[in-house]
């Protein structure tokens, strides 16, 4: 198992290198001149060619592309993503706290989402084709179709404004988590419980379940085997749900004024703050790579057959 983990991590490193290169390349392919963006952000009234050349030099933009990439990649390893074009402050001083806020929201939401997905998936699988199963799937279908901004707005209106139970925005206490977590859980659990359900159903028809029952094992024990096997399939899906959530909290963060990555990035994109955008893409891509590796390791831990491969 230990060697499997180290091999899996070793595999992630070249992947991260490629991703960082592509990120840098894509942002540099933008037709906008970064020097111009910086000067505009500083509110310089007259942008002359001379001023542009000088700014380029200051930013190191006159050096060859590969050298710039190399320096950028090296400093990224130390969490130094350069300075924001807009505020002039280090990117990480803004991105770091924002990432942390979004990460907290994501982890709490993912935990809730996974919990409800498993519970609903298991219940529906046991009651396959029955009224309960059909109603849960019907309602979830409806919930998936609702855009999360509408759901968020309705919840704010009902719970925070009408009933005045919970804060509408910010993140002062644990109570601030409830509404955004609810929105994210509803949107995602209604999609992800299907994975658990279908995995459970295909396992329910497996021979080992028949044999376990034929041996007289109580349903409780049979269920444990069923869950082990079904969650093995679901676990990689769940692991990958975390970076997906990280990258898709924009709407919820806007509704609930959550000072996270989403709000930060939208502003960065609008003001063409290249270093910030680069750093965001890189951090998110790294999250995908890390959780992908985690998914594989967890799956291997649960599936002895997989440990051999790779």
């Amino acid at each position: 198992m230990g060697s499997y983990i180290s091999r899996r991590i070793a595999l992630s490193i070249p992947l991260l290198a490629v991703i960082s290169f592509l990120t840098f390349l894509l942002v540099n392919l933008s037709p906008l001149d970064p020097a111009e963006v910086v000067l505009q952000a500083q509110g310089v009234p007259m942008i002359t060619d001379e001023l542009l050349t000088q700014t380029k030099q200051e930013l190191g933009l006159d050096r060859p592309f590969l050298i710039r990439y190399w320096h950028w990649a090296l400093s990224c390893l130390q969490l130094d993503f350069g300075h924001s074009y807009v505020t002039g402050q280090p990117v990480w001083s803004q991105l770091g706290p924002a990432f942390l806020h979004t990460f907290k929201l994501t982890i709490v939401s993912a935990a809730c989402m996974i919990f409800f997905s498993i519970v609903l998936g298991v219940i529906c699988a046991w009651r396959e084709g029955k009224l309960l199963d059909r109603s849960v799937r019907g309602i979830s279908f409806f919930l998936t179709a609702i855009p999360s901004y509408w759901l968020g707005a309705m919840l704010v209106w009902l719970v925070a404004v009408k009933l005045d139970w919970l804060p509408t925005s910010g993140m002062e206490s644990y109570r601030s988590y409830i509404l955004p977590v609810m929105v994210l859980t509803i949107s995602y659990a209604s999609i992800y419980f299907r994975f658990v359900r279908s995995a459970m159903i295909s396992n329910l028809n497996a021979d080992y379940v028949l044999y376990a029952r034929a041996c007289g094992l109580p349903e409780k024990k049979v269920t444990v085997h069923l869950l082990r096997n079904s969650l093995q399939v679901a676990i990689s899906v769940f692991c990958m749900a975390i970076p997906v959530l990280l990258g898709s909290t924009v709407v919820v963060e806007n509704i609930f004024a959550w000072p996270g990555l989403g709000s930060l990035t939208v502003n960065a994109i609008l003001s063409r703050d290249f270093p910030m955008i680069q750093a965001y893409v890189l951090v998110l891509a790294a999250a995908f790579v890390v959780f992908n590796a985690l998914a594989d390791v967890l799956q291997a831990a649960m599936n002895p057959k997989l440990r051999k491969d790779l």
């Binding site: 021979d207 028949l210 376990a212 034929a214 007289g216 094992l217 109580p218 085997h225």
Partner: protein, 274 residues
Amino acid sequence: MHLLEVQHLHVTDRHTGSVLLRDSSFHVKQGSCLAIVGESGSGKSVTCKSIMRLHKAWIRQTGEIWFKGEELSALPERQMRKKRGKQLAMILQHGMRAFDPTCVIGVQIGETLKEHYGWSRAEIEANMSLAMMSVRLNNPVELMNKYPHQLSGGMLQRVMIALAFVLEPDLIIADEPTTALDTIAQFEVVEQLIALRERMNGAMILVSHDLGIVRRLADDIIVMKDGEIVERGSANVIFSAAQHAYTQRLVEANRALNGHFERLKGGGLGLVEH
């Protein structure tokens, strides 16, 4: 009173309304072996599952199943569960798929023995080791710490037989125990099934496509087609003087196939003619 007496067993699929088993009645005598033969989809496995009461929720079964003087279909699920494994043991076709692929096989075995005997780990290991040795599985402790994919189908089949050895059931239901195996593994499994029967003096229901194995093991035979029993009788009679056209064809086809094999192997392994 026979050990098992099935009367008017009728099984339907509630979803589609189709009849899987039509008014099936048969019995298994104490200490004897009943073979169920028939083409694919004729309802052999459905019959086995009905006796164990292991159908899916949407499969409906009616009729009476008398086992040692008790009506199984009238038993509460709790008591039926106690009979499964302990009194009615099942051996499945695909050894590979019969054990949870995420656990070593010892886990499922241990759970079963704990359930029926309440044994400790050491007792389980000791008893199971003896049984596994007797079905010629050497290094039993090592084997029990292996995952199903690390063992062969024939070995897993013999693990199931060994478990049956320990549980000492009154009736063994073997649903195509040799179909998925190569000839040598088939031979070993059949030997162990015979040994199991001799030692337990128990009865057996054997489902098989292989009339050679049926001829070796069975005392009585029922022939099924499309969910119905089309012919029944003692093994000798069926093999020598089948009445039903379908059975005649089955015996004939089997004879032709065996002849073909014999010629190929030059009279080789002789599984059929013992």
